[in-house]
């Protein structure tokens, strides 16, 4: 006999037609799955009764990967094959990861062969990409949910930090696809938390969501207006969280115990585990004893009290407050307008964090719902709505774009088309034009970021618009449309419309369809950002050189007779010099050669002009020209 759940009035599903939906919080440290049953959203425990699945995957030779507690237990004994905090690597390039973390514990495979800058972690089971490791975690959650709900999941809502850019969101979607999940929507974690607290049923007002998880920090300012949630602004730091607390405490422990800077991966992890244990214990007690094994086999015994802990983590908490200020400024909100602050993420269990955040916002700090579960619960509620188990979709969530989206214009500058914190879904169009006479193609380079130079932003995609009818520079009108769907994912189209002729637009879908395309996208971005700009300078100069050479050659072909032999020799020399330099890679020397050629040909140009006018006027009376 099947076990039944209570439905909303009129929503009873036909047998075997249940629409099962789940919310997944794919966290840096822990992941959870939650669902709504009989109108109640709960996180689902696994066979051992544990709700939190450690986001750790251990790869083994010839055996299926282990996920969760077993894998976490193996972190110390088998560090190279055990991947933790993989979320930090999602959608990021190798250079980016090395920059963010000075002491990365993984053996990243060289990009040889796959010529890719997407990091692959070398394990006994082969090179593993972050997307693949995340998919293993999702598969485990999926299996748990399907066993619990006794059926296949129709769809899931997966939460991501509000600060995730498009590549990171896409990587998350890819991981879900790899795990065999249908993603109904990606939801910003803070938004999910607000839903879990039922703030949508509260009075109208401004709410702040402070989410300090294992690896990421997010701050979101939400306004509830006539039953509609609007995310007014988001800010955060994708590389700040409880892991950093642990690292700081571990460093302090190492210092106290007199350990050298040189440490094996093994030792570092053991030290971190001890730091984490001490930190968690200090949420409840004033002082905790710590033990660190020394190199010589002896054990250092010490004491860590809350005051010392506070001193250690205060600088990190302080680092969370500047994004808070930024979010307030973006939202145009004064402190006294804020109703409450929702605390999310395990690190907000720390009494010091609660104290400092309460002080900063001068208001009540909400901590009633388990801060580890609150995001998954909100995601489950949203999934339940999206899959169609609710009679009326009363909940309307408006999300925002975390980073401005724009395209590259002449000179490597970014023209922002959609500004940061615009609500999604949205579409914006902007007109661009051609730079040269007779230009028939336009390269569109889509970038994301707040900086002014393309080199400082993130490259998302490139494509070309071809078939523009030849016309004078600046005459063509090319409308570039940016469209962001409800998941925060982007599509860009370019259309030439000045002539009224539909021109064919060829968009190479480098935007997030397959893994290899994402890799390509990443390779284009961080690794070669600077080279791109230098290459662009050079290319622009080479184009200019070619134009000058062609112009002079056509002039010589028709009017060589105007030159003396001596002049001709000098001009040919300058022309040769420019030809040679244009092949080189120094854009400044090309520029000088172009200038030299211009000077050398000045007299010739003037004489051609005179000759042209003479030819036009010869045989005509003066009156004919007046």
């Amino acid at each position: 006999m099947a076990l039944l759940q209570i439905s909303e009035p009129g929503q009873t599903a036909a047998p075997h037609q249940h629409k099962l939906a789940a919310g997944i919080d794919l966290g840096t440290t822990n992941s959870l799955v939650a669902t709504v049953r009989s109108g109640l959203a709960e996180t689902l425990p696994d066979e051992n009764g544990s709700h939190l699945l450690p986001s750790v995957v251990r790869y083994r030779l010839g055996l299926p990967p282990q996920v969760g507690e077993e894998a976490r237990a193996a972190l110390i004994e088998d560090p190279h094959n055990t991947i933790s905090s993989v979320k930090r690597f999602m959608g990021r390039g190798l250079a980016d990861i090395c920059k963010g973390c000075s002491c990365s514990e993984y053996d990243f495979a060289e990009s040889a062969g796959s010529d890719s800058s997407v990091p692959r972690i070398r394990t006994v089971a082969g090179d593993i990409s972050p997307v693949e490791a995340s998919a293993e975690i999702l598969k485990t959650l999926k299996a748990c949910a399907e066993k619990t709900l006794d059926g296949e999941l129709t769809g899931v809502v997966i939460t991501v930090p509000a600060y995730f850019d498009d590549a990171q969101r896409q990587a998350t979607k890819d991981a879900a696809q790899l795990a065999g999940l249908t993603v109904l929507r990606l939801l910003n974690e803070p938004t999910a938390a607000a839903v879990a607290y039922g703030l949508d049923r509260e009075s109208e007002g401004v709410h702040v969501v402070y989410d300090l998880g294992g690896g990421t920090f997010d701050i979101s300012i939400l306004r509830l207006n006539r039953g509609v949630f609007e995310v007014m602004s988001t800010a955060g730091n994708t590389a700040l969280g409880g892991d950093d607390f642990d690292r700081t405490i571990a460093q302090w422990l190492a210092g106290q115990a007199g350990l050298g800077a040189e440490m094996t991966v093994h030792k570092m992890r053991a030290l971190r585990a001890e730091a984490c244990r001490a930190k968690e214990a200090l949420s409840d007690v004033e002082s905790v004893s710590v033990a660190v094994p020394r190199d010589d086999g002896s054990v250092w015994q010490g004491e860590l009290d809350r005051e010392q802990l506070n001193a250690l983590i205060d600088p990190l908490i302080q680092k969370t407050l500047s994004p808070c200020r930024r979010a307030l400024r973006d939202a145009g909100i004064e402190l006294d307008e804020i109703e409450d602050v929702v605390m999310v993420g395990g690190s907000t269990r720390s009494p010091r964090v609660r104290e400092r955040v309460g002080e900063f916002f001068h208001c009540e700090v909400l901590v009633d719902i388990d801060p580890d579960k609150v995001v998954a619960v909100g995601a489950a509620i949203q999934a339940d709505v999206l899959v169609g188990n609710k009679p009326d979709d009363e909940m309307l969530l408006l999300d925002v774009i975390p980073l401005s989206l724009g395209i590259e214009t002449m000179g490597g500058l970014v023209e922002k088309v959609i500004p940061r914190n615009a609500t999604i879904p949205c579409a914006k169009a902007q007109d661009f034009t051609t730079f040269k006479d007779g230009q028939t193609a336009l390269a569109v380079h889509v970038v994301q970021g707040e900086r002014e130079l393309v080199s400082d932003c993130r490259s998302l995609a490139r494509f070309e618009l071809r078939g523009i009818p030849p016309m004078a520079a600046g005459a063509a009108r090319i409308r570039v449309t940016f469209q962001v769907d409800a998941d925060g994912l982007l599509s860009v189209t370019a259309r030439e419309q000045a002539s009224g002729v539909e021109s064919s637009v060829q968009v190479k879908p480098s935007y997030g369809l397959s893994d290899s395309e994402i890799e390509q996208m990443l390779r284009d971005s961080m690794a070669h950002a600077e080279e791109d700009v230098a290459a662009r300078n050079l290319r622009e100069m080479q184009v200019e050189a070619r134009r000058a050479i062609e112009a002079l050659e056509s002039a010589l072909a028709s009017d060589a007779a105007l030159l003396s032999a001596d002049e001709r020799t000098r001009l040919d020399a300058a022309l040769e010099d420019l030809r040679a330099k244009a092949e080189g890679s120094d854009h400044l020397s090309i520029k000088q050669a172009i200038e030299a050629l211009n000077i050398a040909s000045d007299g010739f140009a003037a004489r051609r002009m005179d000759a042209g006018i003479h030819a036009a006027m010869a045989g005509h009376k003066l009156e004919e020209f007046s």
Partner: protein
Amino acid sequence: MAISLTDAAAARIKTFLENRNSGYGLRLGVKTSGCSGMAYVLEFADQSEGDDTVFEDKGVKIIIDPKSLVYLDGTELDYAKEGLNEGFKFNNPNVKDSCGCGESFTV
């Protein structure tokens, strides 16, 4: 003519109704569909209709329409846990046969 609840079922229904913040009681019923003739209906009820019969057991109101009552009379509603799954179970004395999964039945 009666419908009853086990203690476990009554407790869960109360929890769910409280969580929902509104609702008059629980509507039970049957509808013709499914692989074996009839399927159960289990829904929150915001009101009772004119023809409905309302039972009250262990502080929970159970609302049934007259057509369904014929098929459900004598049923005990239980809340059970099977492995990781948990949910409501109809112990219906009228059932002659049910499909393999038990989601639908014949009388």
